[in-house]
Every structure is written in C-alpha cells, then in structure tokens.
C-alpha cells in the first residue's frame, strides 16, 4: 500500500501547494504502530486493526481508532511468467504455504520444487493471507519473508519454482493465477470479480485515524475519497471503491 499512499500524497500535495505530507513505508503494522506511537496522524493498512491495537491506541493516545475504507484490493497469487499453472484452490494454497505440498507436480504443474515467498510478518497482506488461506496456522519455516511486495514479485519473477502473494497493484513481471474457493470455480482477480465479491481473496484497504480526523488529515482523507483520489487508486493498479461501499466507518 506504500505506493498508493505515495501517489495520494503526491497528488494531494500537487493539488494543495504548501501542504506537506510525509510517507513512511513498511507493512500495515508499520502504519498502525506509528499511529499508536504517535508518530503518524493517519495510518494506511490493508488489514483490520486488531483489538490489541485498539486498546494500545486508547491507552497511549486517549482516543478511539476510526477506520475508513479507501480502496479495494484483490490479493493475488503470483508465479513466474514461465509457470503454466492455471489455477489453485484455497486448500491447495494452504498446503503449499504450510509446507505440506513441496513440488509443483502435486498441484498439476511440472516437476519442480516449490519455493515460497512471503511478506514480513506484521504486514496486512501477511495477516490476511494467514487468516484467510492458512486458517491461522503458521507459514512453513522455509517461506522467505521479504520486506515488501515488490521484493516478493522480484524474487518470484527470478525463481522458476517460486510462488508469492501480494496486492494486485504490484503484479508486473509475474503471472497471477486464478484462485478457486474450496468448493467453486477458479476466479480471476479482476476488478469486476473483486467488486462483486466473487474473488475469494478480496479485501478493503483502510485508513485509520486517531479520533475524528481534523485539519490537514481530514482534507487528505476527503481528497482520497473524492473522484480524483479514486482515480489515483486505479492509476496505481488497485481497484476503486464500489459505489455502495463508500467510506463506511467500522
């Protein structure tokens, strides 16, 4: 999501000369931790805030967390362009990332060991994948954790046996595979399928604030939700919010 935040910040600063935003990167945990520690006014996160984080926020900043849905994302599963595998089911993915399936031939591919690429462990992407694909079980210890989705993509693209996951906006240089729910057809992670909710790994991207946002934070948030801000979303490669899901507060 860093890249989305950067683009929003840039567009916002272009539209409002003289107003300066700072963007710091990392996973969702980075933003929420910064929010709790008081070093950020807004946190972008691709996962819901945890109860523990809510409590910490209340304790340290003395205010409730407010959540705003700001974009839609399909969590894509990547393989190198040369890998011909068409689709994977969620149970197959679970076995792969748990380390129980270790060769591509077991899921209908060629005979080649599977190399797992994962995200750093407090990123929203990591948490989402762990909850929705692994049923909260642990990743295989052999999964290499890389500090950004870009690093995952880069690694997968160079590794014939590689598989990784991450936000849809990053999928350049690799192939995304269709993902099938346990009892359904393979679905491609397109905008329509994400908007309609058919793709099993779709999620909202959120911005969190401490209490009601005010001042420049409020202006920024309004900008993000405006048509201009949503254009930025599409430009980066994520999906804009569906009309009925605008900015619901949790």
């Amino acid at each position: 999501m860093v890249i989305l935040a950067q683009n929003w910040a840039q567009a916002f600063m272009d539209a409002n000369p003289g107003k300066v935003l700072q963007v710091s990167g990392g996973g969702s945990g980075t933003g929420l931790a910064a929010l709790i520690n008081g070093t950020a006014d807004l946190a972008n996160a691709s996962r819901p805030i945890k109860d523990k984080e809510r409590k910490q926020l209340m304790k340290r900043r003395g205010a409730e967390a407010h959540a705003f849905r700001v974009a839609l994302d399909s969590l894509a599963v990547y393989v190198p362009a040369a890998n011909k595998i068409e689709a994977l089911t969620i149970p197959q993915l679970k076995k792969i990332f748990r380390g129980q399936t270790t060769n591509w031939k077991d899921v209908g591919g060629e005979d080649r060991p599977i190399i797992l690429y994962s995200r750093e462990n407090n990123s929203g992407t990591y948490t989402y994948f762990k909850e929705h694909v692994l049923d909260n079980e642990d990743f295989a210890a052999t999964a290499q954790t890389l500090p950004g989705t870009a690093a995952v993509i880069n690694a997968v693209s160079k590794d014939a046996g590689g598989i990784g996951y991450g936000g849809i906006a990053y999928s350049q240089g690799v192939r995304t595979v269709k993902v099938a729910p346990a009892d359904g057809d393979p679905i491609e992670p397109t905008m329509e399928n994400a908007t309609s909710g058919k793709y099993p790994l779709s999620r909202f991207l959120n911005i969190y604030s401490v209490g009601e946002p005010s001042g420049i934070a409020k202006e920024y948030l309004d900008f993000v939700l405006s048509p201009k801000g949503q254009d930025v979303v599409e430009g980066v490669g994520y999906y804009p919010l569906p009309k009925e899901a605008t900015a619901a507060t949790e």
């Binding site: 910040a9 990167g25 008081g38």
Partner: protein
C-alpha cells in the same frame, strides 16, 4: 635466494586470494558504474522523485544525506577531538581513567549498527524526546519524541565517535614530542601547548579523521531506519524535527518496495552510484589530506 616450487605455490595461493578480492571489487564497481552512469543527469540530481519513486530525481535524498551528515559532524566531531586530546595530551597512559576510556572507545567501535538504531529509538526518541514532550506539552501527540533528522544525526554522531577519536589520536601522536617539550620549556602551559602547537600541527590528520567519520556516517542505513528516514518525502527538511530522505535508505526502499523492480533498476543503480561517489570522494579527500600532512611533518 632460490625459489622452489613450494615458494611459487604459496605466492600463487596468496596472490590468488588477492586477485579474488580485487576481481569482486572490480565487478561491483563495474556493474554499478555501467548501469548507473547512464541514469545520472542534471534532472536526476536536482529533481524530487515522482510518486512511483522511479521517475524524477533524488535531490531530497542527496540533500537529506548531506544535511544529516552535517548535523552529525557538528555534534560528534568536537567530542571526538576533545576525547583524543584528553587521551593523548593530558591523561597519563597508565591512568585508570584513560584505560577505561580507551576500552569504551574500542567497544563502541564494535557495537553493531542496528544496536545503535535501538539506542537512538530507546534513548533519543523515547527518553530524551519523550521527556521534552512531557515537560513542554500536555497533548499526547509527540513533538520531539518521534523520528527526525535531529535524532538520526545524533545517533550517527555516537556511532562515528570512535572513528574520530582513533584517527585524531593518531594525528596527535605524529606531532614530534620535541615541539611540545620546547613549548613547555618556554613556559607555555599545557593547554597553550595543545592549542597553539599540537593542534595546528595535527590539523591535517584530524581533518582526515573527520572526513573518514563523515563518509562512514553518510553510508549507514541500519541505525536510521527507525530514527528518522522517510520512504517518500519530496520536500526538503526545514526543521530539525522533520523526517528526511536518505540515499542509502532510498536504495533499500527502492530495492524492496517499489512497485516494479525491473523498471526501478536504472533509478536504483543511479542512486547507488551517487551514494558511492559521495562516500568515495570523501575517502579520497581523506587520503590526499593525510598524505599531504604526513609529507609536511617529515623533516
């Protein structure tokens, strides 16, 4: 002397290890220059990065690195020079205090850079910054107790302290003892001797140490990850409490977080090249000054 087969073998093996290292160095520099040089242009050096971090330039990162390094120098160098003067001019070599200071300096030199990062966070940001905040403001939103260019610079000042101390001490040692003795014999106090005789004569060496420390500090990334470096901040820091972009951190961010690593490669190589040119030219400057000051001291 006759050389036997075994002589040649040993010479060959040790020569080979040297060749391996020089080859790796050459490959590294070659790759970076080959891929990086075409990217360098006036725009690349003077413009702010685009929102994708790939387009545009790296000026804020250059500025941030230089600004941070300058602050670091201001904070660390006087302390380092004072320590070296104390060790070399005042303390008796057998005194316990000098021994402990030396031990501390040696140890400080070996503390891992990431531990300095933890220190900057735990001491400067949480303790010092947090204390200032709780004294001055009621609002729980931190003003001083958050990552900033000030805290990053101070953290690096501590990190580079041993480099300054060691090289300054070396420089002080090259000043002939006769000069000191003559000065003292003429009735000058020890401080006058240090101030008027020793320091001017050791100037070149001290400058070398300072430059080496600056070059070391400019390239360190691990300590500033939590202490003030920002991913994307296309504006220049104007306040000590601002975060800043940094060349080294930019390399790390580009290599791991840009949306399209292949497209980012030219920018990445260009940034690495700029960082290397910066540190190398500082090192080169240090070597030249050192050579000159040594030549000047030779009778």
């Amino acid at each position: 002397m006759r050389h036997t087969k075994k002589d040649w073998l040993l010479a060959g093996l040790t020569g080979l290890s040297l060749a391996v290292i020089l080859l790796l160095l050459a490959v590294l520099l070659g790759q970076i220059i080959w891929h990086g040089a075409p990217v360098i242009s006036a725009e690349f050096l003077t413009e702010k990065p685009g929102a994708d971090m790939i387009s545009g330039g790296i000026w804020p990162a250059i500025y941030g690195t230089v600004f941070m390094t300058l602050l670091m120098t201001l904070a660390g160098v006087p302390v380092g020079i004072a320590t070296a003067i104390f060790l070399n001019e005042y303390a008796s070599p057998r005194s316990r205090i000098a021994k402990v200071v030396r031990l501390a300096v040696n140890n400080l030199a070996g503390v891992p850079s990431i531990v300095f990062g933890l220190f900057g966070l735990g001491f400067f940001i949480i303790f010092v910054g947090g204390s200032i905040d709780s004294l001055l403001y009621d609002d729980p939103t931190p003003v001083w107790g958050k990552p900033s260019i000030l805290w990053a610079s101070l953290t690096l000042a501590v990190l580079t302290l041993p480099v300054v101390i060691v090289t300054t001490e070396e420089a002080l040692r090259t000043v002939p003892r006769e000069l000191r003795d003559a000065s003292l014999a003429l009735g000058a106090t020890r401080f006058q001797t240090v101030y008027k005789i020793v320091l001017p004569n050791a100037k070149g060496g001290i400058l070398t140490g300072v430059i080496l420390a600056v070059s070391r500090g400019a390239g360190e990334v691990a300590p500033i990850i939590f202490c003030g470096a920002a991913n994307f901040l296309p504006y220049l820091p104007t306040d000590l409490r601002d975060m800043f972009m940094h060349l080294g951190y930019h390399v790390y961010a580009l290599a791991t977080q840009s949306p399209n690593v292949d497209a980012a490669q030219p920018t990445l190589f260009g940034t690495v090249l700029v960082l290397l040119v910066l540190t190398f030219s500082l090192n080169l400057l240090a070597v030249i000054i050192r050579a000159r000051s040594r030549a000047a001291l030779r009778p």
